[in-house]
Symmetry: C2
Subunit: 167 residues, 2 copies
Amino acid sequence: MADGRAASGENLLYLTDEQLRQGIEAMFFAYRGFTADPDRILTDMAYGRAHHRAIHFINRAPGTTVNNLLNILGVTKQSLNRVLRTLIEDGLVESHVGTADKRERHLYLTEAGHALEQQLSDAQRARMRAAFRDAGPDAVAGFRTVLEAMMDSEMQRTYTRLKESGA
Amino acid sequence: MADGRAASGENLLYLTDEQLRQGIEAMFFAYRGFTADPDRILTDMAYGRAHHRAIHFINRAPGTTVNNLLNILGVTKQSLNRVLRTLIEDGLVESHVGTADKRERHLYLTEAGHALEQQLSDAQRARMRAAFRDAGPDAVAGFRTVLEAMMDSEMQRTYTRLKESGA
DNA sequence: TTGGAATGTCAACAAGGCTGACATAAACTG
DNA sequence: CAGTTTATGTCAGCCTTGTTGACATTCCAA
């Protein structure tokens, strides 16, 4: 019964439960590869994946507020605060009180922060580049289409906003 | 300089650093969506994502040994053991001593385990199905090609082996 | 001037990674 | 066949990173 739809008129083989399960497992294994290289670099320092994410998005949107970062990362302020505190203490991130609204803290990478960001994203991009090159442009377009459709709609908007601010 | 390769003869626009970074962020946001529905179901019970993964792969390969599961999941035996113990105590998983090699334990879902597996995978497949349907078959093929290329080669083999054992 | 929003801090806790120490069964070796 | 090694699984304890709740501070805005 589960695969009954395959027998319908259209070519919907790609929607069988077996295909969906393969997609699920592909996501699982691929995400492991996706995070493997930065994780390796970070364990040598005293940092983890949470630090990488913070550094990535501060680099992506310099001057972002803590609250904005919270929305992007989808964690609690207490959790983010612990990460930010160590990054600021270690001189990788600078926090500046806002001029218009002095409640806000605007976050920037220091030179050391940029260096680490570069190191991490170089590693991650290298893997992504190899995967993209092996797969070819059409596959890459499909990859992005499916991923975008898999996001919660709120995150879809965040993603699009970031994308458009970039290039 | 970073995007200099875009000027080369071929159409390699999809390999610019900006495109790679968008791919990275797409993975990040999409993975959040990917795990959101099962996570919601699991927090109502006393389980987490680790339990879901164990249940998924025991269902996928009934009778699998602990060691085999360890390789698939990429965690330590101690970490997996904690999860398996609670699943066995709660009557979702059964562990049988091997007949040929009595050191091994073979793992099976009970009826209750199957019920939970069904509930979790229904939710996850529903999202995947919607994404696949929105994206269309060509995009889905590309999605899988890129994900496969992003895996560590060892996981690529594991993934392929699972895939071929399935359908 | 008072209420609400943004930020930060402290404390306590849970999930799920990790390492180290160890028990047992099986397999190998002299 | 006794002794050693290997494979497997378990227990105890630690770390990161997520969570809630309570609360202080600062400032904007009605």
